[in-house]
Symmetry: C2
Subunit: 445 residues, 2 copies
């Protein structure tokens, strides 16, 4: 295979055959194709695109570059949920135990936070003792035993993606719909799923530019799933403000535990239930959204969902006592209320400044190898549309020390915009994308 | 400087400031920007283009990445000639001594052959003892003494181009007008020229796709010269057949010597004189083309041009006896006439198959580090438009052995197309491009 010829063809807007994608990815992982050739190919793909057959072939080649979970022997459906990343998004922490407690197997492979977005692994690891670096064999054993596992992308899974992702980051080729879709789906398909629910974020805190790009990505992922025998449903959800109230690793675990006990904030529960309803329907245990909703509420009120979370934590070495007493989580050294600087409507709560402020406090990553302080963050109780009086507490800042509190206060002053008139936030869930097409919805809290 | 941001801007069709090009190239040469980031940038440039200000800034940054000849103290004009590469093109070997013998300084830096195209350095090195790897200091001393030097791109000159060229080759980013223009001009401007004549090849043997791209490149190079105080004139010349009769390193030196003695084939002399007339006018020693032509004919008939070639060869360690007796050049082990397989008109002599056949015989390079056999090649006497009888000799094959002769014969059978009707070859010189615009010409032998 002459790699230069393949780059040339893509550069000129042509297409590569599935066997060519497979050979390219295989040679890349074997070290026979250097990073500079892959970088040129990625830029050509960014600018010239991939059609759906090429995207499916690239995804398949990336998936087959590594090991895969093998769960076909299980009787139950295997359903995962994936989000494109946001601020305050702890739905995975709630959904994994909640849906598993209803008899659907949830083999969930998650990522770490980077930049302004958080990551499920980082949140989980704020639970004392909790391990997420299980081997595929251990993950499989846990799935068989308790129906759920929460792990990171091991070195065994999709090594092509593990090498390509940092290369894309360094070469400005991240924001390409076929490259995003193939990166996500190569890992998700390695979980041997029967169905996948995608949470595609929209708005200022999302890394997608606009609604069209979000719908494009949703369509590409649904088609990719279809091509590989995994039914995919995508929901477009609001990331024009943080989801829920807590932003910060341990703080979000605490909020997720409250949610599993029926005490979650309305916006978080609305998005969680919308995603969960899709998971339960894909899993074949609920016939429609209403039935799914009733099942989830029952699993919460009965304590089944909380007990499943305890079982998962215990199985992965964590302290299951956290579910009854979140105070076992790491605690911030300094905390302080943040008060509204004027009266008026909360016009906006800007997710990017909040996410970046978390990084500045030590609770997020500017670089992939940064270490985290799990205790720091924010609990922002004010929501867009709320009326607040001057001096009324609208948030709490959790920091390591007084200087962190000061930095957090400065960040919130910019992020929480209070004005004479309310703004128009996005609907919490605005679109649903399946193989049948796009349906507009308007789920709100 | 965040390189990813620069790549991103070019990817999105934006422009980089001169200081940004300079910082990028400087960091690349220093090893702070890895090849994979440069590869992504090159592909973005290939697909999004560079405007003239950016092309000038990139060229300048590449030129300033290394050392430069400093010839400003000389009273005479410094004029070089550069060709985009072809088959059988030995005009540099003739023009350097010819123009230098007329009082114009010619500091000529040339390249090696690659693929189907030959290189001046390879041809020169077929002269026993001849060295082309002079330092800039030695080149400068020789220029001062005899008005001409024929060297390769030393490691001192434009190291950015030395690293970027193989990277472009591996990433399918060669055929970009601004990248070609900046690569050539960064080296030519390092020669401290007052003027430059460009020979831009057209037709099947050229690596440019079509007339538009050739004119684009000519325009870009003329503008680049203007931006750096070096007057550039570009001629578009025919490469739809080999130039002259000889193709092969020693064979071409021999043909060049004959040309310097007034015995060159008409097509070769027509192109040589057209380029030389531009050099003499840029050099200020001829007022117009007719005067330049008379001067060149006189330098040939008086022996001044041949003597200058001898002086150059001697100064660079070569055997100057080659000019009086070309038999001192390496001789092929086997040689055989090639006869016309049928009667008819010579419709075409395809340059690429001829150039590739030379590579197959060992006289050219498939890879940059291939070693050459200087003696092998072809002398093709038939020209498009000639009438030939079946069995009439139309070429001579020079090979290492009988199997080489057989390979050469097979190649010529495909390359020399004889038909019932003559084809329409391109005019030898079809366009002249200066700052004043494009003029159509129709120079033929």
């Amino acid at each position: 295979m002459l790699v230069t010829r393949l780059i040339e063809r893509k550069r000129d807007g042509g297409r590569l055959e599935p066997a060519e994608w497979n050979a390219l990815i295989r040679s890349y992982v074997a070290g026979d194709v250097p990073d500079y050739q892959m970088a040129a190919m990625l830029m050509a793909v960014y600018l010239q695109g991939l059609d759906r057959i090429e995207t499916a072939a690239l995804t398949d080649a990336m998936r087959r570059s590594g090991a895969q979970l093998s769960l076909g022997h299980l009787a139950s459906a295997r359903i995962d949920k994936h989000s494109t990343g946001g601020v305050g998004d702890k739905t995975s922490l709630i959904l994994a135990p909640l849906i598993a407690s209803l008899g659907v197997t949830v083999p969930m492979m998650s990522g770490r936070g980077l930049g302004h977005t958080g990551g499920t692994l980082d949140k989980l690891e704020s639970i004392p003792g909790m391990r997420t670096d299980l081997t595929l064999a251990a993950a499989r054993e846990q799935v068989e035993r308790i129906g759920c596992v929460l792990i990171g992308q091991t070195t065994e899974v999709a090594p092509a993606d593990r090498r390509m992702y940092p290369l894309r980051d360094a070469t400005a080729t991240i924001e390409s719909v076929p490259l995003i879709a193939s990166s996500i789906m190569s890992k998700k398909l390695a979980e041997d799923l029967t169905g996948l629910v995608l949470d595609i974020k929209r708005g200022a805190g999302s890394f997608l530019r606009d609604l069209d790009q979000s719908l494009d990505l949703a369509g590409a992922m649904v088609a990719l799933g279809e091509a590989h025998g995994c039914e995919v449903v995508a929901l477009l959800t609001a990331m024009d403000r943080p989801l829920g109230r807590a932003v910060g690793n341990a703080l979000e675990v605490e909020e997720a535990i409250h949610a599993l006990q029926g005490e979650g904030p309305p916006d978080l529960m609305a998005v969680t239930f919308a995603l969960g309803a899709e998971m339960l329907q894909l899993g074949g245990v609920a016939a429609d959204g209403d039935e799914a909703r009733r099942q989830m509420e029952r699993a919460i009120s009965s304590g089944a969902a909380s007990r499943k979370f305890q079982a998962i934590i215990e199985a992965q070495g964590g302290n299951p006592g956290v579910v009854d007493d979140p105070a076992v989580l790491p605690q911030a050294g300094a905390c302080e209320l943040f008060e509204a600087p004027r009266r008026g409507f909360v016009a906006r709560v800007e997710p990017r400044p909040v996410g970046r402020a978390l990084v500045a406090l030590g609770g997020g990553r500017a670089r992939p190898d940064d270490r985290l302080d799990p205790a720091v963050g924010f609990v922002i109780t004010a929501k867009p549309g709320d009326w607040v009086e001057r001096g009324e507490p609208v948030a709490t800042i959790f920091a390591r020390d007084e200087s962190g509190v000061e930095a957090g206060r400065a960040a919130l002053r910019g992020a929480i915009v209070i004005a004479d008139e309310a703004d128009h936030p996005l609907p919490l869930v605005s679109h649903r994308v399946t193989m049948d097409g796009v349906t507009r919805t308007a789920v709100d809290a």
